[in-house]
Symmetry: C2
Subunit: 277 residues, 2 copies
């Protein structure tokens, strides 16, 4: 099948154009796309260069290309619209209705307010990252009283990426503590986390997936055997149930979804606003 | 000033609705908004509950509320549109034009393709996170041959969050190595990174900001003194120049912008596609 060229464009990081653009493309499972991301198109000159490049690349193309963009600057947006492509600018599609409701013109530029907010929340993010790094994998358990959440689960159930995401994206101090076989045999919570039951959140996954991940790490080991994976998952899920630890199955979901779900379920207050574009 | 209620809604994480929504709001610096994010509105029942809640919350409001949403499912979207608010659904605003160009109907549902892609790239992300964790702050230097990039800079110049972001969001194996005073006095690169000059990327910041960050960590120390911060920044920037290490000033930009810029400047190939919604 011939694939259609799609360009994600922005005057800043293009993270939104790309993330949302991919969601849009996924709505057409029968079409084939070839995508390119182009961040920092922040001058007339760059915009003109991009239009030239896109027109050249598609001069022989069977299928008309598509441009999905977030361009706050109108003069840059106008140039991009000269490309021989379907241009879908996310700002243009939304701002006019907002202007009518608010009865005022939009600034049509990269909001300075972003920068300032980012500066202000930078420190809470850095603090959270520092916290999550030293409290990874039970490394330190000393400052659990300062933790927003303590993620628990067996080895390779997704604790580390989840904590890092919580810290980076939401500015949350997320520690994680590995549940060992010994812990599971005990009838109560491991000592370091016992006093913090209300901060615990459990991760689990299916045994087959755990087996697959552990095999890549330590093939042929007892640790990575199907039997061991089965046993640990069963025991840890029983433990979560008996001790009333809220718990999430991470088998089929992404790190972003795990983190967002935990924030929701645990009723956490995010300390960092998502401000990327 | 009276603030207007704004709701970011999605049948999934609402990360796009919130990120992009914040960008849109920033275009109106003279208006005041009070925002709430509502992820996982994935059933008719939940949608009806949300409409009721929004109508109730705003029954006495002077300003009409706004809903910014990414709802692929049409039946859920229709219910949300019954709210007494300006509803801006990002899908609805874009999909019709795409359908016309592609000459086919969109699936109007959370794309399964996401899940699959996420599964496939999950492992490369986890590998990259593992790599970045053990190669943080010069912890290990053993596998630098496997690194996609090695971030260098003085203490507290933003190396760790940058590496974690590169790993989490782009699946890149990012190591980081701290440049010490001793290193700066030498005329050549520190031994562990010498063989990898083509993978190096330098971070710098202004001395005032470095001072501020270090003061929070070790107040009153020589390490955190203005004199020391000045000296280190000057020396490390000289080092980057002399040894032709590409370099970025992180003073006024966010972690997302640092990471995206490095990917651009270093010409790195991302191993993980941004697929969140």
């Amino acid at each position: 099948m011939t694939s259609r060229n799609v360009y994600f464009l922005s005057n800043r990081t293009a993270i939104t154009a790309e993330t949302f653009g991919q969601s849009l493309l996924a709505q057409f499972p029968n079409a084939k796309f070839s995508v390119v991301t182009m961040p920092y198109i922040d001058s007339i000159q760059k915009a003109e260069g991009i239009v030239k490049r896109i027109n050249q690349e598609n001069s022989q193309a069977v299928l008309k290309p598509m441009i999905i963009s977030t361009l706050a600057d109108e003069s840059i947006s106008q140039i991009i619209h000269q490309a021989d492509a379907l241009v879908l600018d996310l700002f243009q599609r939304i701002l006019p209705d907002m202007e009518r409701l608010l009865n005022q013109h939009s600034a049509h530029q990269t909001g300075l307010s972003h920068r300032i907010s980012n500066q202000l929340s930078y420190e809470s993010r850095i603090d959270a990252i520092d916290f999550s790094m030293i409290h990874d994998d039970g490394g330190t358990t000393r400052f659990y009283d300062k933790a927003d959440i303590i993620i628990v689960g067996v080895s390779r159930s997704g604790k580390t990426p989840t904590c890092l995401y919580l810290a980076l994206q939401f500015g949350l101090k997320a520690a994680n503590y590995p549940i060992t076989e010994e812990d599971m045999l005990s009838e109560s919570l491991p000592k370091p986390i016992k006093a913090y039951q209300n901060k615990l959140f459990g991760l689990t996954t299916n045994a087959k997936r755990l087996f697959h991940i552990r095999q890549q790490r330590l093939p042929q080991s007892r640790y990575a055997s199907m039997e061991q994976c089965h046993k640990e998952i069963q025991a840890v899920e029983k433990m979560f149930r008996q001790l009333n630890v809220p718990c999430l199955d991470t088998t089929a979901i992404s790190i972003e979804e795990i983190a967002t779900t935990i924030v929701e379920l645990a009723g956490l207050k995010r300390k960092h606003k998502l401000l990327t574009r």
